[in-house]
Symmetry: C2
């Protein structure tokens, strides 16, 4: 066994040399960036070997690392194996690090009407003259609350006799419809878990089911990222072998179990007091989470295996909450318009909007819905992972040191980083700002071509805009290629908005309200988004940034049966446009790449 030591984060562990440094890092919760999922192609998981011996340099690494980096002992963690005790320096840009936990969202202010009720039951101690079976005894006690005899979850059946005797024939049950899903001591407070699983991030909320109050919330990375940044690579992996499909599921269920445990620890509760969960995610995430087949999701016509709302037993998918608890999944609309979109629509109340309203959740995949006079139509746009920093030369996620806002103050460039730290790279909102500022300064033309400017330098025949220097390191730049990547991403979104408006015979300017939901959407500068032509040019007061609405929708569906019903109605009402079916798609897409 060798000791592998990651510095300056100060995590170390014992490994037998069978695992790459990337795998070691993962096991020690050192969040190395890995866009390609560990196949040596994204070149992001650079680490510096300070001491000790590692495996031979691979061809991938020789291609990926500069002369200087090679001299300094840099390696790609995914390609490198320890040959003895090793000590590593992890440069900040290789760390996804402290993610902003994207758990803030709209307030949950509905009257609780939870699917699971808590009821105290006072039983009669059985005797030879009344040897009532334990289940019959329990139902007899619940009859005092006007509850007719129903069903017991099979795990409740197995624990009932012990619980009754341990609690001297007084217990508290969790009743869901006609089924008792959990049983505990008389004082037990039943809890609910709401989770929004994004392609990149997960947001979790622990609620008191009775009061509807959020007790704790927490964000974490989606561990499926080890299989690739976008859902397509995960669909490919899950379709390849059963083992990968199983692993993609267990990565999620284990993360959610840990999330539940952490939220409970924070609230002085126990995971087995969580008697209901609501999980939302896009269709692919939804399917991977339930281990439904995903192959057909990756092939035209992109058909979901299951679209209806579902209730599955937590134990059947391996989630460590009350074993009899159900996990409720909101319905999907289409292969690329999933339950997270339904959840967002629920939280934003777009279904009730009287104004012509657009709701948009920007992410690796961007879903947009337009409600015009009660007709709701959605569209899905493959905006790609550029907003998360992927395929961008100095791109990174919204972590400390990421440039998140950029402004020209006259000719002086102002750069703001997350946490005020020395610049490490640039995150999505920063990139949006840079491109907007360059366009406003006419350094970029309408087609996105980078012109001349003192800060534009030529690198390998391609212009790059100099954003921020880094002592002893290459400066952070935005390349012509980076601009093109952003143009493709924003074009997909803009085309979606246009398609929805056109389908209703509207001009974009007829849109009276734009709700921007989601982690990324919260931090963008709307003016910049307009300046690059991602969003239509509307008065700024029509835009509203609401944070993680999908998480809010999950919480609503968790504590209210009527909200759950509403979600079903939204999914049923919502029409769907397939962008690829648009006439003149290619031409329209090309036009949508123009900056404003």
């Amino acid at each position: 066994m060798f000791t592998v030591d990651f510095e300056p984060v100060g995590r170390r562990g014992e490994f037998n040399g069978d695992q790459s440094l990337l795998d070691c890092a993962r096991q020690l919760s050192v969040d190395l960036v890995s866009v390609c999922g560990g196949i040596g192609s994204c070149e992001r998981c650079k680490v510096q070997v300070i001491a000790g011996q590692a495996s031979k340099m691979t061809l991938e690494e020789e291609g990926a690392l500069t002369e200087d980096e090679l001299k300094q002992g840099y390696r790609l963690a995914c390609m490198t194996y320890p040959l003895g005790n090793v000590k590593l320096h992890v440069p900040a840009e290789s760390l996804t690090a402290i993610q902003r936990t994207q758990v803030e969202g709209l307030e949950v202010d509905v009257e609780p009407d939870p699917p699971v009720r808590g009821l105290d039951a006072d039983l009669t101690r059985p005797g030879l003259d009344s040897p009532l079976a334990d289940d019959a005894n329990l139902w007899a006690a619940l009859a005092a609350h006007g509850i007719p005899a129903g069903r017991l979850d099979s795990r409740v059946q197995q624990t009932l006799s012990g619980q009754l005797r341990a609690n001297d024939w007084r217990v508290r049950v969790a009743l869901r419809g006609d089924e008792i899903v959990a049983i505990g001591a008389p004082s037990t407070r039943w809890l609910g878990l709401a989770v929004d699983i994004g392609t990149t991030k997960i947001a979790g909320y622990l609620l008191d089911l009775e009061t509807g109050k959020t007790l704790a919330s927490r964000g974490l990375m989606n561990p499926q990222i080890s299989y690739g940044e976008d859902v397509v690579s995960r669909i490919v992996a899950a379709s390849k072998t059963e083992a990968d499909a199983a692993k993609l599921q267990s990565l999620l269920t284990e993360a959610l179990s840990q999330l539940a445990a952490d939220l409970c620890a924070e609230s002085g509760a126990q995971p087995d007091e969580i008697v209901e969960a609501v999980v939302v995610g896009n269709t692919a995430i939804h399917h991977l989470f339930l281990r439904l087949p995903v192959k057909q999701l990756g092939l035209s016509p992109y058909v979901p295996a299951v679209a209806s709302a579902l209730d599955v037993k937590a134990r059947d998918i391996g989630m460590a909450i009350a074993p009899g608890a159900y996990v409720h999944l909101l319905p999907n609309i289409a292969g690329y318009v999933g339950a997270d979109h339904v959840s967002m629509l629920l939280a934003t109340r777009i279904a009730d909007a009287e104004k012509t309203t657009l709701a948009i959740d920007i992410g690796t995949n961007t879903e947009i819905c337009l409600n015009h006079r009660g007709r709701m139509t959605s569209v899905s746009c493959a905006s790609g992972p550029a907003f998360e920093g992927a395929h961008i030369k100095f791109g990174m996620r919204a972590a400390p040191g990421a440039i998140e806002h950029v402004r020209f103050d006259g000719s002086r460039l102002e750069v703001q980083t997350i946490g005020g730290e020395a610049p490490v790279g640039i995150c999505g909102s920063g990139l949006l700002d840079v491109v907007a500022q360059l366009r406003l300064k006419n350094i970029l033309d309408r087609g996105g071509k980078m012109g001349e400017h003192p800060l534009v330098q030529n690198k390998n025949g391609q212009p790059e805009f100099l954003l921020a220097g880094r002592p002893g390191l290459e400066p952070v730049t935005v390349s012509q290629k980076d601009v093109r990547e952003l143009q493709l991403a924003k074009a997909a979104i803009r085309l979606g908005i246009q398609a929805l408006a056109e389908a209703e015979g509207l001009a974009e300017t007829d849109i009276e309200q734009v709700i921007i939901a989601g982690a990324f959407g919260t931090f963008i500068d709307v003016e910049s988004a307009i300046a690059i032509g991602m969003l239509p040019e509307l008065p700024l007061e029509r835009f509203k940034q609401v944070g993680n609405a999908a998480g809010t929708g999950a919480r609503l569906a968790l504590i209210s049966k009527s909200e759950r019903e509403k979600a079903g109605q939204i999914a049923g009402r919502d029409g769907y446009i397939e962008l690829a079916n648009l006439p003149n798609f290619t031409l329209k897409f090309a036009k949508a790449t123009y900056l404003a």
Copy 2:
């Protein structure tokens, strides 16, 4: 590894010396008798070491084996371990051997009204213009049959997409209520499995769910016997460790999975075509099968954990039939009046009887029900395993060579063995006959004391009746102690009958009809049963022997929802008397031990 060879059965296998010869025998399906479950106390698993070396003789064995047996190399299989290759001779009396498979029973002649329906579904191939989710597509196709959209079992969800594409969008579903529990090719014939799990034997039936026809039936031993012959020893074992409880469950579920596979092989079907099962057993078996707690069943007031009828997913208890199939369990009435009794009552139609009718299922535990003017009351009697040959000096189960009938022809004793083979021992019906004949000949007095007779010999101060010689072996005898054992067994039953009659203010002679159900009851001589005072003295035409009625009831409940409802009504209607609560129990019991 050593070769262990059992002769003359001709089974051999490789073992590493860690397992006793009893365990080796079990793995090779050599059915050695073991009443004590392998702790060296019942002294029934005798085998003769013909060649090879075995472990040192234990004190238990020295106490158990005669001088002659020791000389001939006899050992107790449960106490002996191989030290090298060994060859063993298994005497017939150590074999439970070919059990009469108790699958015969009343005919099933109700109109099928199965809980699971088969339906063909013709789906529309999805396209980019109609990218309908696979589940929505299926429900749309079923709408043609007037079926509203419902639920998919989670395994059906996982296989749906593959099945639809493999079968070119034409499938057959198994619909149970609003849930699709299985999906297959268009031609699939859905099957059902009915099982009666007795303490000693299991009877299984494979039915066509649509026609209600029995396709195949099969009997086998209850493998839990390795934990002891009676349910009490299994309750004790399951209450001791979780591992034992798990093993007691898996012994059953594995046996039932094998049973399903065997029945299917016989019928040219596949186990995953079995989409519904009904399992009946006594309350302890029911609980062990579902891994419900049983500790409280073994303690006064003998309370079941669960009495209601249950539907559990086959996969949740590890039964290898269609993974989405439900196993339905009929309700229990009390700790010692279980679902098998309800099933028997259902099959015998005693609930509808207009005459005052007694239904009795004789076994290790005997359940009796009296219907008088529509009032049904049941009682449970701990008759013990004497009828299965346990605690009887030459007792054995109903296997080849067992003396099953005995008659005095004048002074000549006639003995009939199963299969007409040389006598090996005596089974329950034989013992009943012997004691009846000895009583009729006044060799036994009313109290059961054995008097003088040329065939009565003295053995260690106790009289024994000489029944049949065996060349080169001790003759088969019935000892005074054997008579006492039978008296205790029959007293329990008679006391139950008396208690039921008394509770209705009846004399036993008011009983107008007696239905005798169950494996053992089928083979007893009713006259003998009357002669020993086990059954009341009624005209013979009032008695009806109906075979395995519990198995018939399970089949009825399998193919008919209304029969299932009837079973629920029977359980609800049936009153219950606790024998131990009777005033003057001890005195009454003592009186009931008298022979007629």
